[in-house]
C-alpha cells in the first residue's frame, strides 16, 4: 500500500489549496490573502514554536509568506501538499534566522532532504486522519530524552554532532535517541496502514521488509 506523503490536507482542501496557489502564482492578491487566512495560524504556530518569542515568530511568518508569494510558481503538487510546502518554507526561514543568530553559517545545501525529489504516491486512504492522530499521540508519549533530540534536530536545525556537543553526550547516544524516537513516530504513522496490510497479507502472505515492528 502506498503512503500519503502529501496527505496533510483533506482532498477537498487539497484541491482548493492547489487552486489558490495557482492563482497566487498569477499574482492574485485575494488568493494570497485567502491562503493566508487558511494557514496563518499554522505558519505562525510553527514559527513561534521554533523561535520561542512572538516578535521573531512574526518576522519569520512574514518572510515565509512573502516567499510563498514570490515562489508560488515553483510549487509542485506532486511533491506534497500546499500546507506542507508552506510549513517547510517556514521551518527553513526560521532555521536560517536561528543559525544567523547563533553566528553559524547557513549555506544552501543541495543535499538537504527537503530538496530531494521524492515522487511518493498520494493514496488518500481512509486511514489518513487516523495516522495523524496516532502520530500526534505518540509525540506526546515519547521519552523526554528522545523528544529533546528530535526537537534539537527539527526545531533548531542541529546536526548529530552539534546535538552531542550541546547535550554533552556521546555521538552514538544522540544517534540512538533520535533514531528510537523517530522510529516510534514512524510506527505510529504506519500503524493504520499496517492494520490494512495485515488484513491483506492474511490472504496474500506478502509482507515488505520495510514494515517491521519497532525495535525499541
Amino acid at each position: 500500500m502506498a503512503r500519503g506523503y502529501n496527505s496533510l490536507a483533506v482532498p477537498d482542501s487539497h484541491s482548493l489549496d492547489a487552486s489558490l496557489i495557482y492563482q497566487v502564482a498569477q499574482a492574485d492578491h485575494k488568493a494570497f490573502l485567502l491562503l493566508y487566512d487558511r494557514y496563518a495560524a499554522r505558519v505562525f504556530g510553527l514559527a513561534l514554536r521554533m523561535m520561542g518569542n512572538a516578535m521573531s515568530a512574526e518576522d519569520v511568518a512574514q518572510e515565509a509568506f512573502l516567499k510563498v508569494w514570490s515562489r508560488a510558481s515553483t510549487f509542485k503538487s506532486d511533491r506534497g501538499s500546499v500546507i506542507a510546502w508552506m510549513l517547510t518554507i517556514t521551518r527553513r526561514t526560521a532555521l536560517d534566522r536561528i543559525r544567523a543568530d547563533a553566528r553559524r553559517s547557513s549555506p544552501a545545501d543541495p543535499s538537504d532532504p527537503e530538496t530531494v525529489l521524492l515522487k511518493i504516491p498520494d493514496p488518500r486512504t481512509s486511514s489518513t486522519e487516523a495516522r495523524w492522530r496516532s502520530l500526534r499521540l505518540m509525540l506526546t508519549d515519547l521519552p523526554a530524552e528522545q523528544q529533546q533530540a528530535i526537537d534539537l534536530a527539527f526545531l533548531k536545525g542541529l546536526s548529530h554532532s552539534q546535538i552531542a556537543e550541546h547535550l554533552r553526550l556521546p555521538l552514538g547516544t544522540v544517534k540512538t535517541r533520535l533514531r528510537l524516537g523517530m522510529e516510534k513516530l514512524r510506527q505510529a504513522w504506519l500503524a493504520p496502514e499496517i492494520s490494512d496490510l495485515d488484513r491483506s497479507s492474511s490472504s496474500s502472505g506478502d509482507v515488505k521488509h520495510t514494515r517491521k515492528a519497532p525495535q525499541a
Binding site: 504556530g45 512574526e58 532532504p113 546536526s159 513516530l185
Partner: protein, 258 residues
C-alpha cells in the same frame, strides 16, 4: 536487507530531519540512488517530518501581519481600469481613496454646519437625536467605505444621473457596498430613494432604502444584498413610494455599470 541497507536505515531518521553530519549524509545519498526499498523507508520518515511540521499548536498571529503582507504585495501603482459604460466610469482604488478623502472632508463640513444650524435654531431633542443617528450612520458608511477601499480588490465606480452623480465603492466578494451621491433632492414623506442591484439577466435586487437630509445635497448610504456584489453587473437608484417597492417603478435618478 543488505548490510548497507541496515546501516543506512539507522541513519534515515537523522537524514529526514536534516541532522546528519557530512560523512553520514554522503553515505545515505549515495545509497538512496540505487535502493528503492530504502527510498520507500525514507518516504515514511519524510511523512513523519510533515507530521512534526503540524505538531505545534496553531496560533493566530497579530492582525497587523495580514495588513503588512497585504501592503507588501500590493502593486506600487494601480492601473486605471478603463471602462466606459453607458452610465459609469471605473476608476482605480487609489483614485477612490482621494475621492473618499475629499468626500469625508465635505461630509464633515456639511454635517458640522448642520449641527451649528440645529443648535442655533434650538431644535428639539428629538431632532438632535435623529441627527446624531444620521451622523452615526454616515460615520459607519464612511468607515465601511474606507475599509473597502483598503482591500486590494475593491473597485470604485462612478454613478451618474440627470441631476445627480456620485461613486459606488464595492468589493466583488462582499455583500455590502457604499454609495455616495451628490445632487439628490430631499423627497416628500411618502417617497423614498431605493437602491437596486442589477444582475446579468437584468433582474433587480433590492439594495435598501435611504433618504436625503434637508439642507444638504450630499448623502452616503450602505447598499447591502444577500449575494456578493460580484454577482451583479450594475447598480441603480429610483424614487419609490415610502416603504419601497418589490421592483423599480419610479424614475431612475442614478445608475452605473460595474
Amino acid at each position: 536487507m543488505s548490510d548497507v541497507c541496515a546501516e543506512v536505515e539507522l541513519l534515515m531518521p537523522g537524514y529526514a530531519l536534516g541532522a546528519l553530519d557530512e560523512e553520514d549524509r554522503e553515505l545515505v545519498l549515495e545509497h538512496l540512488r540505487s535502493c528503492p526499498d530504502c527510498h520507500a523507508t525514507l518516504a515514511d520518515y519524510l511523512a513523519v517530518r510533515e507530521g512534526l511540521l503540524l505538531s505545534p499548536p496553531a496560533v493566530h498571529p497579530p492582525a497587523r501581519l495580514r495588513q503588512t503582507l497585504a501592503a507588501s504585495i500590493r502593486p506600487s501603482h494601480v492601473k486605471t481600469m478603463g471602462f466606459l459604460g453607458s452610465f459609469g466610469l471605473r476608476v482605480s482604488a487609489w483614485s477612490g481613496v482621494a475621492v473618499l478623502a475629499t468626500l469625508l472632508v465635505v461630509n464633515v463640513i456639511v454635517l458640522g454646519q448642520t449641527s451649528q444650524m440645529l443648535r442655533g435654531q434650538q431644535t428639539s431633542l428629538e431632532q438632535l437625536l435623529a441627527e446624531q443617528s444620521k451622523l452615526t450612520q454616515d460615520l459607519q458608511a464612511n468607515q465601511t467605505a474606507m475599509a473597502l477601499v483598503t482591500y486590494p480588490t475593491s473597485e470604485v465606480v462612478h454613478v451618474q444621473g440627470d441631476e445627480a452623480y456620485g461613486t459606488f465603492v464595492f468589493d466583488p466578494d462582499l455583500n455590502i457596498a457604499v454609495l455616495y451621491a451628490w445632487g439628490l433632492e430631499p423627497l416628500p414623506g411618502d417617497e423614498t430613494y431605493q437602491a437596486w442591484l442589477i444582475d446579468a439577466g437584468g433582474g433587480r435586487t433590492n439594495g435598501g432604502l435611504f433618504q436625503v437630509s434637508e439642507g444638504t445635497r450630499f448623502s452616503v448610504f450602505i447598499v447591502s444584498s444577500s449575494s456578493p456584489m460580484g454577482a451583479f453587473r450594475g447598480v441603480g437608484v429610483t424614487i419609490e413610494p415610502s416603504g419601497g417597492s418589490p421592483g423599480p417603478t419610479g424614475a431612475r435618478v442614478l445608475a452605473a455599470d460595474f
